[in-house]
Symmetry: C2
Subunit: 249 residues, 2 copies
């Protein structure tokens, strides 16, 4: 099988407004995606597929009205789902035990894996996709909009539609930086500089750094895009939401 | 592109002892896999590729000596890696902020996504793969064996090799059970029974339940495979390990 697609792929954040994405297509892709591996074949996840324009508009503020959701023809909210498994256990008179850090971690892993399998299939079918990381920031209003019961937690959102843009492949860190043979190689300071040099030199990144009045790409990440105080605040909110959904870390 | 592979795939736990899997092949697959989407293109993950037989034997007890690792020709430990990113930030005089639940969750998501992209590519190339969920049980001895510094946490392990077995496609829950249109559909008790009926009726599952002296498949999951007390104990150990690695949930 030709696997060239994998190294040419890119996320798409603008979708063709003239072409709908039907529930049949989404279900046919998901029907293949669920064959992805998962912990103990428990499939402790659910996918909420939103194609209704009003419902998408209702979800958009929770994703900070990013362009990807504003033009999306379908929004897939991939959730960790212990509700189904817990109820099955209780109907069988046994107590499930997934309401802890191990359960959460497997749930996140399995949910991410099936989401990625969907993305691969969707992109191979000519759709564009984009993950929305905002899902873990605003899980509570997303859960409310989608009617999620106890035990169900939004993990990742994927927007999709036929591409209305072609941003092209984005660079990645050098492969040697993220792979290690036999044991971990802790890079020297010099190597750290070398690892990020290409991304730091990109015109788009240099412009982004300058527009934000920062000194470096690292500062853009640490102070503008993912500042510590915001991450900590969103961590508190997510932990509290998890607790309300029956999962204590 | 023919996507029939996706619904026919299955995990492989026994590998051909006569066929080696070279580092070149693994690196060529990983070189494609890293083009998977990831949060902010920060790539906060590392993959430790173990092909050395002695090193694999050293890792095996941490995975309870499962057949998949005992016959593996290569073992890939996919780790969340904040070490590289943190050091880059500090070399640029800024303080990173990923040492919390949000950072952990993105890290797990991104690590699982790149692992799954590797598995898809490996299986398309004729290799068999199997995830080892034991990675989050015994992260500390795994980290020690692989020389992981602060900020690096094992998330999933993938064993690989050329298949020496062909277990065939395993059934999944009915698609309607894991997908929801527009909003979440909370199943009735009757639907819960219906959802698990096919898996409960499988000969292999019935035998497994009987051999363990259990009354139901749910009891096998809740009391034998993933008992609450063990999950809670492993949660404490993983949380403590995360803290030692600089991540506080």
């Amino acid at each position: 099988m030709n696997t060239e697609y994998f190294e040419k792929r890119y996320s798409v954040r603008a979708y063709d407004q003239q072409r709908e994405v039907g529930m049949d297509l989404i279900n046919s892709l998901l029907g293949k995606a669920v064959h992805a591996p998962n912990t103990g074949n428990m499939q402790t996840y659910s996918v909420i597929v939103t194609t209704d324009a009003d419902k998408i508009a209702e979800l958009a503020p929770s994703h900070f009205n990013q362009p990807a959701i504003r033009s999306a023809k379908a929004v897939l909210t991939f959730c960790l789902d212990f509700n189904r498994f817990n109820r099955w256990c209780r109907l069988n008179g046994v107590e499930p035990g997934l309401d802890n850090l191990q359960g959460f971690t497997w749930g996140v892993i399995d949910t991410a894996i099936v989401a990625q399998q969907f993305c691969t299939l969707a992109e191979m079918a000519g759709l564009g996709t984009c993950y929305l990381g905002t899902t873990t920031y605003n899980a509570e209003p997303i859960a409310r909009a989608l009617g999620l019961p106890t035990g169900v937690v939004p993990v990742v959102t994927v927007t999709t539609g036929y591409p209305a843009e072609c941003p092209g492949t984005q660079p990645r860190l050098p492969l040697w930086a993220v792979t290690h043979e036999q044991v971990y190689h802790d890079p020297s300071d010099e190597e750290i500089h070398e690892i990020y040099a290409e991304e730091e030199a990109l015109d788009s990144n240099r412009r982004f750094v300058e527009e934000n009045g920062k000194e470096s790409l690292a500062a853009l990440f640490a102070e503008v895009r993912y500042p510590k105080a915001a991450n900590e605040q969103f961590s508190r909110v997510y932990r509290e939401f998890l607790k309300n959904q029956g999962i204590s870390l």
